[in-house]
């Protein structure tokens, strides 16, 4: 509810901003600015919230608003994927990550000194400036709105309805190599994460990565049990093992 109020307030502010600064009532532009304003507010909320779960929720709201922006850009597939991957998966990952931390509520936060905050601020501002400059210098950015000829309604609809298919064609033909590289990257991240997170003792059993029946059947039950019962519970008694 607070979130909703905040979002609505953000929209109002953005709307006012639109009226006062832009002095322009492009129908889509207004909505865009409002959503963007709300998204910025959610991003600020993400940074400022003390409770980590609240922070993550602001982030989820932000993801959702970004999905709305994608829809405004008529990138429907992208919007759906934004919701699917970021709200459905990354948010869950974040929540589980938060449940790994000691201090969910943010009670034990120490105020870092300015010296430690400064680099972060510099990096953030630098990134922002870089992106802004890059976007501004894109040649078709400023002209695009006015000069691009509007296609006919039917043609546009056909293109938009064929978006996933077009995306697939592009992906498979033009962007073939990057696509495979993404697969490699995903595998690498998967293997890396699993290897890092797995208790040390069980790595030796099947680290070659081949699914020989021996390594499957001999998945070191005694080892993992030892790890689960011994190391885990004795050194970290606060861990809950359901």
């Amino acid at each position: 509810m607070l979130l909703l109020m905040l979002v609505s307030a953000g929209m109002l502010v953005a709307g006012l901003w639109e009226i006062l600064i832009f002095r322009e009532f492009g129908p889509m532009r207004g909505v865009f600015v409002q959503i963007a304003g709300a998204a910025v507010l959610c991003a600020v909320g993400t940074v400022l919230a003390r409770n980590l779960i609240h922070s993550a929720l602001y982030l989820v709201a932000f993801f959702f608003l970004v999905a709305c922006l994608f829809i405004m850009l008529e990138a429907e597939f992208l919007a759906v994927m934004q919701v699917l991957v970021f709200i459905g998966a990354v948010a869950i990952l974040l929540m589980f990550g938060i449940m790994l931390t000691q201090d969910v509520q943010g009670d034990q936060v120490e105020a870092h000194s300015v010296l430690r905050r400064l680099p972060a601020a510099i990096v953030a501002i630098g990134l922002f400036v870089m992106l802004a400059v890059a976007v501004q210098q894109r040649p078709d950015f400023s002209k695009a709105r006015t000069e691009r000829a509007a296609p006919s309604v039917a043609a546009r609809e056909r293109v938009l309805n064929q978006m996933p298919q077009e995306l697939g064609l592009d992906l498979m033909q033009r962007w073939c190599l990057p696509f495979e590289l993404v697969g490699l990257l995903l595998t690498a991240s998967l293997v890396g994460a699993v290897a890092l997170a797995q208790p040390v003792g069980s790595l030796s059993a099947g680290s070659d990565g081949t699914p020989s029946p021996g390594s499957l059947t001999e998945t070191p039950e005694h080892l993992s049990r030892e790890v689960a019962g011994g190391t885990h519970s004795s050194s970290r008694p606060d861990l809950v093992s359901p």
Binding site: M28, G30, I92
Partner: protein, 445 residues
């Protein structure tokens, strides 16, 4: 404030001068989503109680109204008049937000389902690209990315579930929600992967497009890879909507009630509503994707008649909606039946089942689906008469053989894994493993 926001958007949309079917939308919202679907859900609850009772040789609710038909209404009234309290230590706002999220997820997924055939209009065929008469589908909206939209929307539920357990600040609730989110994310993958063959054969992500293709080429469940995908989709749907035998989030015997332990009154009612509505939605999705929507078995009859007169269209849609509801009803009965039969799974087996059996099976099934596509669908793409008899049966034979091999291989591989192997049973019981051995659980000495 949200009203303001809506009106702003509406005005701006109107300014775009796009043709917007306001009347149809408001009918969908206020007849469908406000009236019909909640009512349907209430009677699914009633039906479940009746059917579960019959499975247990009982009669079921019959006191409130004739045949107990008003039981759900009475329960609703009871829930409304119960005291609503939040535990003192709970995170109040998120505690209120969680059931809302669950309900949103369930409702949004009903928006794209074509309940009937709609009318016929000339559109581009996704497979061949030529303009041909295509069903418009009787759905609230028809999104070009319908299938991923459904998956995306239903994945919001796991967030709501987690927040419900977390915000209650109760150990059982938190444990239940952590577990159930792990379960939901694990079973979402086979669910998604099971829909990919459908997309592959239809060449479109729109549900109406898929329905149209199915009416033309036959139901997807009748092909071997389609049947396998259907089974996998149903199994993972059971887990996605937290129904038995995957109802671990609500494991009464160990976690009291799981994630909604600290919920009372209508907030609990919202969870209840969301659970049954998502079950309904999942059955609708399954009917659309695999069972040919409102199509009558082995017939494509209403298709040729559509698109002429409004009255005819309405009448034919009525028929197709009835057929659709019949199929959905059968699937819902399947849900009840499985619930009446199977005991709850153990957590480790539950996770292993998804990751070690269903996902490999899904991946292999995708391969076989591509083979089916190459044998049966691609050669006749663009031809109106569909696959020939011989061709269809060759495809059927080859893929059925491969499916059987894949199934036995996957199960064999799954059982090679020591913790699920029957070898452990053999060594501990000393007897031949059979169904009997599963019944007589060896006592630990």
């Amino acid at each position: 404030m949200n009203g303001l926001w809506v009106s702003i958007v509406a005005m701006k949309m109107a300014a775009l001068s796009e043709p917007v079917p306001w009347v149809a939308w408001f009918l969908w919202l206020f007849v469908g989503f406000a009236g019909l679907f909640p009512l349907l859900v209430a009677y699914i609850v009633w039906g479940e109680r009746k059917v579960a009772a019959r499975f247990q040789d009982r009669i079921g609710p019959n006191r409130v109204g004739p045949f107990g038909l008003l039981q759900s209404i009475a329960d609703l009234v009871k829930l409304l008049f119960k005291e609503d309290f939040t535990p003192a230590r709970a995170d109040f706002l998120i505690h209120a937000l969680a059931p809302v999220l669950m309900l949103i997820s369930a409702m949004l997924s009903l928006a794209v389902i074509p309940f009937g055939f709609g009318s016929v209009s000339m559109r581009n065929d996704p497979v061949t690209g030529v303009l041909r008469p295509t069903l418009t589908g009787f759905s609230a909206v028809d999104l070009p990315s319908g299938v991923p939209y459904l998956i995306a929307v239903s994945s919001i539920a796991s967030l709501g579930l987690f927040l419900a357990g977390w915000s209650s600040r109760n150990k059982y609730a938190l444990l239940g929600s952590m577990r159930s989110v792990a379960q939901m994310v694990s079973y979402e993958i086979p669910q998604v992967l099971a829909t990919v063959p459908i997309v592959l054969w239809s060449g479109t992500l729109s549900l109406t497009g898929i329905l149209d293709r199915q009416v033309e080429t036959g139901w997807y469940v009748l092909t071997p890879p389609g049947f396998m995908a259907f089974v996998i989709f149903m199994i993972s749907s059971f887990a996605e909507v937290n129904r038995a035998p995957f109802d671990l989030p609500e494991a009464e015997s160990e976690l009291i009630a799981g994630f909604h332990l600290e919920y009372s009154s209508m907030r609990f009612g919202l969870f209840f509503l969301a659970e049954y509505m998502s079950m309904f939605a999942v059955c609708c999705i399954c009917t659309t994707l695999f069972l040919g929507g409102g199509a009558i078995p082995f017939l494509a009859f209403p298709r040729g008649l559509l698109g002429g007169y409004v009255v005819v269209d309405l009448f034919l849609n009525l028929i197709t909606i009835l057929v659709f509801s019949l199929k959905v009803g059968l699937l819902i009965f399947l849900f009840f039946w499985v619930r009446a039969t199977l005991p709850r799974m153990r957590v480790d087996r539950l996770m292993a089942f998804a990751w070690k059996l269903l996902i490999p099976l899904c991946l292999v099934n995708l391969l076989i689906a591509a083979i089916w596509f190459e044998i049966v669908i691609r050669p006749v793409a663009g031809r109106p008469d569909g696959p020939g008899f011989l061709q269809w049966w060759i495809g059927f034979g080859v893929t059925a053989l491969l499916e059987v091999l894949a199934f036995f291989g996957a199960v064999w591989l799954y059982r090679q894994d020591s913790e699920h192997s029957l070898k452990t049973w053999r060594s501990s019981t000393g007897s031949k493993p059979s169904i009997i051995a599963w019944r007589s659980v060896p006592t630990k000495v």
